[in-house]
Assembly symmetry: C2
Homo-oligomer: 478 residues x 2
C-alpha cells in the first residue's frame, strides 16, 4: 500500500455520488448536498449520481449502482447507511475505483462491535484492491482547485492553506469562517475515523504539495506517533504548521474517543513536540483560524511595536491593556507628533492624542488616513492596528454605515500607500446591522490584503506568535 | 457638600437639555439624541430643550437659555462646547439647578492648561451652589426606572444591575450588549473626568440603592483610594460587585490618563483588594458582561458538575476541553444511561453518547428534551450546558432556523420542567443569518430565564467565578 500518493483523492477524473435522492431537496445533507457542492465548485470531470431507483437529477442520469456507470470512476462519495458499505466497497473494487470517501457513519466511532467489524471489513476489501478510504464518518474533501467540495456555500477560489481536520463540523466551520476573513484553501480534509487515510498521510501529502503553503491541523488523536512526528517535522521545516490538539482534558478525550475513536495524547508531550519542530500551537479554534489569517496575510512578521488607533476612549484603554498583555509594545508618541496631530484635529476635546490613540468625534472629519500616515513615518512604530468598535456608536444603520465606511476607505488607502502594514479589528458588535456591516467590512479589508481579527487580544496574540515562529525559524535555519 | 445624596441625579423632576439643534436630525448625537432618548425612555417630568435661537422641537418649545425656562429645573444635560460651560454653570446656579451632566468634552482630559482651568472653574461654581456635576466628557445617566436615558435604543425596562462606568463608549456597549442577553439595569452611569461625582460616590449610592442588586464597575482610576475601598467593601458585603479594572498596563494607563485623567493603580494591589472584599474581578469587557448575566440568572451557583450537550462531534470535543480547563467537572455517564439514550436515538451512528454528548443528525428527530431529562435525573449532574454551534450546519436559512428553533423550544421546556438549570452557548457563527438567528435565540432563552453565553469557555469561567464567589461569601458570613 502506498501511503503518500493521494492523487486519486485530490485529482479524480470522475466522481460517483452514491446515495442521492431524487425525491429530497437538491441541497439535503447527504448525497444531494455533495452533488450540489461539486457542481457549484465547478468540478470539471464526470459526475455520476447513484441510487438503486435510477432516474435523473440536475440533468444527469442517476445510475442504479456503481457497476452500471459507463465510464471509469476514480472517486466515490458514499452517503448510504453503514449496512451497505461492504457491498459498495466490493462494487467499487470491481469497478476499479481508486478512492472512496465514506460520509456514512455508524462504524468504529460507535464503540459497538457491529460498527467496528464493518469498518474492518470495508478496510480489508479496500486494502486488497488498492482503494484509499477517506473516513468513514466525515465530510471528506474540499479541494477547490479540483472543483471538489463538501458543502455548497464554500468558495470555488483556491489558496495556500491546507487543512487536516478529523472533525467534519470543525472542517465546515474553518472553511466558512476563515474564508470570511480572506483565507483561501488548497484543500480541506475531514477524515473522521481515519481507518485508512490518516493525519500522517495527509501531513506527508501537504508537506510536499506545491499548492499548500500553510498547513492547519486539528488533531483528536494520532494512529502512529513516530510516523506523524516525522511527517510533522518535515512539513514544519518547509511551511508554517498550526496545530490545534484537542481531547487534552479527560472529558475532551472521552468525547474524542466516541467521536472518532481517537486516543488523546498527553498535553505536555504535545507542547514539547510542537516546540521542537517549530510548529505553532493554537489552543482554541478561534486561535487556529487566526493563525491561518496571519500566515496568509504576512509573509514576515510586522514587528512588535504597534500604533493603536480606534474609536471610543474606553475601547482605547482596553486596547492598550490587551495588546500589551499579549506582548506587543505600544510606544508613546513624541511631543512633536502630538502637536502635529492636535493641529490636524483642530480640537482635542474628547480625543486621546497618544498611543493608543482615539480621535473620537474628530475621526468623522479628518478620517484615519492622515494619522496612519504620521504613525507610518514614526520610526518607533512597526505597524498600525485599527480597531473598529462598531457597537459603540449610535444607530440608525445608514448613518452608521456611512461613518464606518469612510474609516474603512482610509484604512485600505493607508495600507496600500504606506510602507508599514495596517491590521484591523472588528469588535463590540451588538445589533444585526453591526454584524452585517462587519461582514462587508472584513471583505473590503481582506480584498485589500489586510488581516482582520475579532479582538485586540486575538490580533496581538497572533502577531506575537508569528514573531516567535519567525525568530525560532531563523535560529534553526541551516 | 453632601457626597451621598444623588437623588437629583437619578430622580429629577425636570430636565433641561442645553444644546439641541432644530436644524439637525432628531437623533443626532448631542442635545438632540439626549432629548430623543429621554422621550423614548418615557421620562415623566418636564423636558426643556434649550438653544439660543429658540423655536420648537418634538412639540416642545425651545428656550433660549436655562434662565428662560418657566418652571423649576432639577437636572441639566449640557451638549454645548466647553467654552460655554462656565456661563452655563452660572446660569444653572441662578436657576437653582441641582445637577448638571456635561456630555461636553474639552476639559482636563486634554491635558492642556485651558481645559484643566475650565473644569476647575465649573466645579468651583458648582460647589459654591451645591450643584452636583456628572462628568464632564461622558454619556451621563441611563436610569430606566426614572425614564432617563443617554441613547435612544436602550430598553425602557429596568432591572437589578447598576453600572459604574467611567467610559461612555463602554457604558453604551454594556447597556446594549448585556440587554441582548437579558440583563436589565437600575442605572448605568458614565461619569467621565469625575470632577465631582466619582466612583466612590456612585459605589456608596449603589451599595444603599434598593433598586440595585448587582453592581458592575469599570474603573480607569480612583480619586480617593481609602474612600473607594470603604465604599467597595460595604457594597460587596451586601451585593455582588464585579470590577473591570483597566489601565493595568503602561500603555493602557497612558490611554486612561488621556481619556479621563485617571491614574491607574498597580494591578496586583487591585487583585489583593478585590479578593479581600470578595468582589469579582473581570479581566475583559466580555467577562464583565458575562458576570452581569450570571448574577442576573443565578441566585445561587448551580454547582460544578455539568452535562454538555450540543451538535457536532468536533464542537463536542472542544466543549469538553474548554469546560474542564476552566474547572468544571464533566462526569461520564453510567452504562444504563448510555443504553437508555441509545434506545431513544435508535441509531448511534455519528453520535457521541456520553458526557459531553453529541446527538448530531439524530437531534433533529428526538430533540434535546428527552436527553436533558435523563441528565437532570442523573445525580452526578448539577446543570446542563447546551451549545448551539449554529455555523456548523448547512444553509439555506429557512431550514436552518427550523432545525435550531426546535432545539431552542426543547431547551426552554427542559429549563422550565426540570429541577436542574440549563445554560445555553451560541457559538461558531459565520453568516449574517447565523447572527440574526442568534439574536432571536438569545431573546427566547433569556425570556425563559436561561443564561446565554458566547462560548463554552466564557460560560464555564463565569459559573466557576460564581461558585468561588459564593464559597468565599459563605466562609466570611458573620
Amino acid at each position: 500500500m502506498s501511503t503518500s500518493n493521494l492523487d486519486a483523492v485530490f485529482n479524480p477524473r470522475s466522481i460517483a455520488i452514491v446515495g442521492v435522492s431524487t425525491k429530497a431537496p437538491l441541497d439535503q445533507l447527504g448525497g444531494n448536498s455533495y452533488l450540489d457542492a461539486m457542481i457549484r465548485c465547478g468540478y470539471k470531470g464526470e459526475l455520476y449520481p447513484v441510487n438503486p431507483r435510477g432516474g435523473e437529477m440536475r440533468g444527469l442520469p442517476v445510475y442504479p449502482g456503481v457497476e452500471d456507470i459507463p465510464g471509469p470512476v476514480d472517486y466515490v462519495v458514499s452517503a448510504i447507511p453503514a449496512a451497505g458499505a461492504v457491498q459498495l466497497t466490493q462494487d467499487c473494487a470491481a469497478k476499479g475505483v481508486k478512492a472512496v470517501h465514506f460520509f456514512t457513519s455508524g462504524f468504529s466511532e460507535t464503540g459497538q462491535d457491529e460498527g467496528i467489524r464493518l469498518e474492518k471489513d470495508v478496510l480489508a476489501i479496500a486494502r486488497q484492491h488498492g482503494i484509499r478510504i477517506i473516513g468513514p464518518n466525515c465530510m471528506g474533501v474540499y479541494a477547490p482547485g479540483s472543483g471538489m467540495s463538501f458543502l455548497s456555500d464554500l468558495s470555488s477560489d483556491s489558496g495556500p492553506v491546507g487543512v487536516i481536520c478529523q472533525s467534519g463540523g470543525n472542517a465546515i466551520y474553518v472553511a466558512r469562517e476563515a474564508a470570511c476573513r480572506g483565507v483561501r484553501f488548497s484543500k480541506v480534509v475531514s477524515y473522521g475515523n481515519a481507518s485508512d487515510v490518516n493525519e500522517s498521510d495527509l501531513m506527508e501529502h501537504m508537506a510536499d504539495d506545491p499548492e499548500t503553503g500553510i498547513i492547519l491541523a486539528y488533531i483528536e488523536g494520532v494512529k502512529d506517533g513516530l510516523r506523524f512526528r516525522q511527517a510533522l517535522e518535515r512539513a514544519a521545516r518547509h511551511k508554517p504548521v498550526v496545530v490545534l490538539k484537542v481531547g487534552v482534558t479527560e472529558s475532551g478525550a472521552r468525547a474524542a474517543a466516541s467521536h472518532t475513536g481517537a486516543l488523546a495524547g498527553k498535553d505536555m508531550l504535545w507542547d514539547a513536540l510542537l516546540q521542537q519542530v517549530n510548529a505553532v500551537r493554537a489552543h482554541t479554534i478561534e486561535e487556529w483560524i487566526d493563525m491561518a489569517v496571519t500566515f496568509t496575510f504576512f509573509s514576515s512578521p510586522p514587528g512588535r511595536r504597534v500604533a493603536i488607533l480606534g474609536l471610543g476612549g474606553g475601547a482605547t484603554v482596553l486596547a492598550g491593556d490587551e495588546a500589551a498583555k499579549e506582548g506587543l509594545e505600544i510606544p508613546g508618541i513624541p511631543e512633536e507628533m502630538r502637536r502635529q496631530t492636535a493641529r490636524l484635529l483642530g480640537s482635542e476635546a474628547g480625543t486621546i492624542i497618544n498611543n493608543p490613540m482615539d480621535l473620537s468625534a474628530e475621526a468623522w472629519r479628518v478620517g484615519y488616513y492622515p494619522v496612519l500616515k504620521e504613525f507610518s513615518e514614526y520610526e518607533d512604530i512597526d505597524f498600525s492596528l485599527v480597531h473598529l468598535s462598531v457597537g459603540l456608536i449610535a444607530r440608525p444603520p445608514e448613518l452608521h454605515s456611512k461613518i464606518w465606511n469612510k474609516l474603512i476607505v482610509d484604512v485600505v488607502r493607508a495600507h496600500a500607500d504606506f510602507r508599514k502594514p495596517v491590521v484591523v479589528v472588528t469588535q463590540m458588535l451588538t445589533f444585526p446591522e453591526h454584524y452585517e456591516w462587519m461582514i462587508q467590512a472584513r471583505e473590503k479589508c481582506y480584498t485589500a490584503g489586510i488581516a482582520v481579527y475579532n479582538s485586540i487580544r486575538h490580533a496581538a496574540r497572533s502577531i506575537i506568535r508569528l514573531q516567535r515562529y519567525s525568530e525560532r525559524k531563523r535560529v534553526s535555519a541551516p
